[in-house]
């Protein structure tokens, strides 16, 4: 009957993934950002194994949700690919930093990022109809060359919204930073990507979040390959977490995002901050 222990572990890991997917999608942090602290703090999984496995789960999550946005014409493939050059480069650097950072410091960095990351989402959601504001009227030469513009159909307004992306060089730099965080901690770092596309590039918020969701998978693939080649990925852990994360984020995006009140978002953010403080305390 030794198997019962294993069955319970499978159930716990599925629920961890589910909770990660649910809270991660609502707070814009992604499933692995929530699952990794739970794995390390409560289930005793070594931090680097949790990170190396979490980054693969991030690919699964993005391939499910981000791809859906592409099919609906909300995510912009061209902008996503152009910025992914920076995030993938950053991710390669981030993994290298991870390998040579003391584990205790890694806990502190992880916790600090978890505290900062939900903030842009909270601020952005409070600022009303930003989707329809034309933020930049002209493009820099690189953005023109790359053809960073698009159009999407807005269900609420029943109209097509045209937009342009500008300030590509500055956005490239900030995306490089987001890529470092993604590679370093094995998370999607979507909040930082949205911030860059929304505030620097001037894209509509809806396009920013959808394109970020798609790009996260590209960034995670770069980091995921490195962790897999080096040997910090646990295939069993990935397999037991991934279905829960996918289901949790699916429910979150389809149901909770429409129903959730601001209070519920604050409660989930408080959960994230609780996990963040635990991570920081482990590092001290």
């Amino acid at each position: 009957m030794g198997c019962i222990e294993a069955y319970i572990e499978v159930l716990i890991l599925f629920l961890t993934g589910f909770l990660g997917g649910l809270v991660g999608a609502l707070t814009g942090l992604g499933g692995s950002a929530i699952a990794t602290p739970i794995l390390t703090s409560y289930l005793g999984i070594p931090l680097r194994i949790a990170i190396g496995s979490g980054v693969i789960i991030t690919i699964a999550n993005s391939s499910t949700s981000g791809a859906g946005y592409l099919a609906r014409g909300i995510a912009n493939l061209r902008i996503g690919y152009s910025l992914a050059v920076a995030t993938m480069l950053g991710s390669i650097v981030g993994v290298l930093i991870n390998l040579y950072t003391p584990t205790k410091l890694l806990y502190i960095v992880f916790g600090s990022v978890l505290i900062i990351a939900p903030l842009p989402g909270i601020i952005a959601r409070g600022s009303g109809d930003r989707d329809f504001v034309v933020k930049h009227s002209s493009q820099d030469p690189v953005s023109v060359k790359l053809g960073l513009r698009g159009i999407y159909y807005d269900e609420r307004r029943k109209t097509y919204i045209e937009y342009i992306g500008s300030r590509y060089p500055l956005s490239f730099l900030s995306m490089f930073g987001a890529g470092i965080i993604s590679g370093l901690l094995g998370i999607g770092a979507g909040a930082f990507k949205v911030l860059s596309m929304d505030y620097i590039m001037g894209l509509p918020f809806k396009v920013s979040t959808a394109t970020s969701s798609f790009m996260i998978g590209l960034t995670a693939t770069s980091g995921g390959i490195q962790y897999l080649v080096i040997g910090y990925t646990d295939p069993v852990l990935v397999s037991l977490l991934a279905p829960g994360v996918i289901l949790g984020s699916y429910i979150s995006s389809k149901i909770l995002n429409k129903l959730a009140s601001r209070t519920l978002r604050y409660i989930f953010t408080a959960v994230v901050w609780f996990l963040a403080i635990e991570m920081i305390l482990r590092g001290l």
Binding site: G2, E5, A6, E9, V10, P46, R48, I49, G52, I56, I59, A60, S63, T64, G66, A67, L70, A71, R72, G73, I74, L77, R78, Y81, S82, V85, M88, S91, I92, L99, Y100, T103, K145, L146, G147, G150, I151, Y152, Y153, Y160, G217, T221, S222, G224, I225, Q226, L228, V229, I230, G231, T233, D234, P235, V236, V238, S239, L240, A242, P243, I246
Partner: protein
Amino acid sequence: MNRSTDADRAVYTILRLSVLLSLIIIVVGVANLFYQLQGSLSSEGLVFRGVSLGNLVRMMLKGDPAGILGLSAIMLILGVVLSITATLAISVRVKDKSLAIVSALLLMLLLLSVSVGLLVKITLSPP
């Protein structure tokens, strides 16, 4: 009601297929894991450890359940690689120079990731 392109649709299809295949592998793999470990599981339950790509391939060849589960991770990575390759092929076909260059750059960066990973694995000893 949307303006998705051929490349968008190709990427969507490939990524969704890779997730579907990955989930099928997970279901089969987990069932196989429990079947094979039924008699040998200790009361400690499952053991989690990092596995390198080389070991993963060896485990797969031996039919190790964890190796089979590793195939799901490889499937997800392959999905992204194939989706970028499809974008490159489509952009070359429609003579979209900028998208072709960016897609090619992304593939090169993935190659760089593998190379850096191998370099770290072979020459250096991370903590």
